[in-house]
């Protein structure tokens, strides 16, 4: 059984990143109905900015904080310069705008940073922890712990703060939210900033394990999107479960069935689930209001 434990740890670590990306999708989707395909680029910005800041001599915690701030500014600019001016456009148009933004950010990263792969030193060493025959990197705990903290903070934010409730209200019904005095434009901007921050944290936590480069965002956005769909688009709990499930499916598929078809295995399972539950695992059946 030591293999099973090893596969699960691998799957959960990778899955935690998918979960954070999926959470980013969820927050923006809830506030604005937009699927933000530039979500992966926030992960890239987090990782790359930290790498370059530490290379310039900035201590790691400060560099990480700076990277999160950079990503938040980029998120805000994305909303103010690309999404806000097109408000009123259909969600499909807005989604296409985010795809354009993701290509733009990737190109910008090539110029501002470079085209090479980079790594960060692991936060607490590289000596694997042996547990039940599996070897676990300390950094995996950072990733899993970081994801857990973010989920907890988000839960508290949405359920315990007024602004959080304003976001939920906007998600539920934008017109009604505006009528009761919620600044929905602010809420949407806030959702982009929060998604960017979550993405950047994921990027920083995972870079010591998976390396980073200007184009890591594209694949993460795809996997994160699949995770969000699996969990049920718009449901934060679904995003987390979906992310972990996609990661586990990949690792178990690679370990037990065939490493060549591991992505296919994950996507086939997702398709089967969506076939049975079109709204995703935690999604509500869609109701058309008349």
């Amino acid at each position: 059984m030591p293999e099973l434990l090893q596969f699960c740890v691998s799957g959960l670590t990778v899955g935690a990143v998918y979960a954070l990306v999926a959470l980013g999708f969820t927050i923006i989707y809830n506030a604005s109905d937009v699927v933000n395909f530039a979500q992966g680029e926030f992960v890239m910005i987090g990782g790359m900015t930290t790498v370059f800041a530490t290379a310039a001599g900035v201590p790691l915690p400060l560099a990480a904080l700076g990277a999160v701030l950079v990503a938040m500014v980029v998120g805000l600019l994305l909303h103010r310069l690309a999404i806000e001016p097109a408000r009123g456009a259909s969600p499909v148009t807005l989604i296409i705008i985010t795809i354009g933004a993701s290509i733009f950010l990737r190109g910008l990263a090539q110029v501002v940073f470079d085209k090479q792969f980079h790594s960060l030193p692991a936060f607490s060493g590289n000596t694997p922890i042996r547990f039940g025959g599996a070897a676990i990197l300390p950094q995996s705990f950072w990733v899993l712990g970081g994801a857990a903290v973010i989920v907890a903070v988000l839960w508290a934010f949405f359920n315990r703060t007024l602004i959080g409730k304003a976001v939920l209200a906007t998600a539920a019904n934008r017109l009604a939210a505006r009528l009761v005095g919620i600044n929905t434009s602010f809420v949407m901007g806030l959702s982009f900033v929060m998604s960017a921050a979550i993405g950047a944290v994921a990027g920083i936590l995972v870079t010591p394990i998976t390396l980073t480069s200007y184009d890591v965002g594209m694949l993460l956005a795809l996997k994160g999107f699949a995770a969000a769909m699996l969990g049920g688009m718009g449901n934060p709990l679904g995003a987390v479960v979906g992310g972990l499930a996609v990661g586990l499916l990949e690792a178990l598929g690679a370990g037990y069935i065939s490493s060549t078809y591991k992505d296919a295995i994950a996507f086939i399972v997702i398709l089967i689930v969506l076939f049975a539950l079109p709204g995703g695992l935690f999604g509500k059946a869609s109701v058309e209001r008349v």
Binding site: E3, Q6, F7, V9, S10, G11, T13, V14, Q110, K115, Q116, F117, H118, S119, N126, P128, R130, A135, L137, V206, I209, T210, L211, S213, D215, V216, L219, A251, L252, A254, G255, S259, T260, K262, D263
Partner: protein, 384 residues
């Protein structure tokens, strides 16, 4: 209609002007095409290749050019996209009318361009690795890097001397990785080595521990080989250390650049790989016939660019020099004559080794061109 007619006349006038400008240029310069993957996933190949070509074309021109004419290098960036590469190949043939091409950073882009140059009868020296480029031999296609089959043979020969007979293999599913895996499977029997585990990973995967766990559990495992290229092998190497697999790990020439050591970190310690002499230029014994060439290229490149030398730039150097020598021997810029002379290249000492081409061998390198290296103390060491 009048407007339309005006447009036609305008276009004709413009075309006339363009031709007048082009005519003297064509007589004075020798146009060489270089479709390279300067950006995109293979930029670590295309970038040093482009710099090398530009640097040496400048140098050759300053020394009076070739056959009394200046070289004109036309670089296109295909970003490792085979479709773009093919479009640029057509443009090089039809619009730029180059006499020869040195380029094609990846096997994918090279294979997409071969039909264009073969049909146009333009000699094409590819800078990509896979053996399919020159096997079967195509009339106008040559290549300078070692093939992946040679890398396999070098690795297996090294294993044989150490008495290793049961190995695991983990390879990527990208073009280079896949081709090398197939070549390795083809020649492994000749060395009395059995593959007891054969796993793969996707080109942008970030975790290979499940595959390596399966390899680790294979009975009688004595070594693992990772035919791969890009960031994948760096992650494999890290995961290898993480899982505490204690048999030797062999990487391929695909990761023979300093960035691999940086990315893999401590985990790279003890990893063996076949690579060209360029990586250990200063460490070669003084009586090594290749030393002068590789040290010259290395110092020139590092002085001009301020970046550490990579073997990929060396392949571009070899390609350009083979072409220049062929043009000097041919004494003309006729593509067919250049092709014939490239095929007659013999005893050319390049960064990849001695090149002896023939009608059946459009690469001309043998196994001695590879050196077996081991990573020790964060640097390459010669183990032979």
């Amino acid at each position: 209609m009048a407007v339309f007619g005006k447009c036609i006349r305008g276009a004709a006038l413009l075309a006339g002007v363009a031709m007048v400008w082009a005519a003297p240029a064509a007589a004075d310069t020798i146009k060489i095409g270089a479709p390279l993957s300067v950006t995109g996933p293979a930029s670590f190949l295309g970038d040093p290749e482009a710099r090398t070509l530009q640097m040496y074309v400048e140098k050759l021109n300053a020394e009076g050019g070739v056959n009394g004419k200046q070289l004109e290098l036309i670089v296109y960036d295909d970003s490792a996209d085979a479709n773009k590469a093919r479009t640029f190949a057509t443009r090089l043939v039809e619009d730029d009318q180059v006499v020869a091409v040195v380029g094609g950073s990846t096997t994918g882009t090279t294979m997409a361009m071969i039909p264009v140059f073969e049909e146009a009868g333009i000699p094409f020296i590819s800078l990509a690795g896979a053996v399919v480029i020159i096997d079967p031999v195509k009339e106008f296609t040559f290549k300078t890097p070692h093939t992946d089959r040679m890398a396999c043979e070098k690795i297996f020969a090294d294993m044989q001397t150490q008495g290793i007979a049961r190995i695991g293999m983990i390879s990527g599913t990208g073009g280079f990785d896949k081709s090398m895996r197939e070549q390795c499977l083809e020649v492994v029997g000749n060395y009395g080595i059995e593959i007891v585990a054969d796993e793969t990973y996707g080109p942008s995967d970030s975790d290979m521990t499940p595959q390596l766990t399966n390899i680790k559990n294979a009975a009688g495992l004595q070594a693992v080989v990772n035919p791969g290229f890009g960031q994948g092998p760096a992650i494999v190497t890290r995961n290898y250390k993480q899982l505490g697999i204690d048999v030797p790990l062999y990487q391929s020439h695909g990761v023979a650049s300093k960035s691999f050591i940086d990315l893999a970190g401590d985990a790279a310690e003890g990893v063996r790989l076949p690579a060209s002499a360029l990586l250990v230029a200063e460490k070669l014994p003084d009586d090594d016939p290749q030393k002068a060439v590789v040290v010259e290229y290395k110092t020139t490149y590092e002085e001009k660019t301020g970046q550490p030398v990579s073997t990929f730039g060396g392949h571009a150097y070899d390609g350009l020099m083979i072409l220049v020598e062929a043009m000097q021997r041919a004494g003309s810029e006729d593509p067919k004559a250049i092709r014939d002379e490239i095929e007659k290249t013999s005893g050319f000492m390049g960064t990849a080794g001695v090149v002896n081409m023939s009608p059946d061998d459009h690469m001309g390198l043998d196994l001695t061109a590879f050196r077996m290296l081991e990573i020790r103390g964060g640097d390459w060491t010669l183990v032979e």
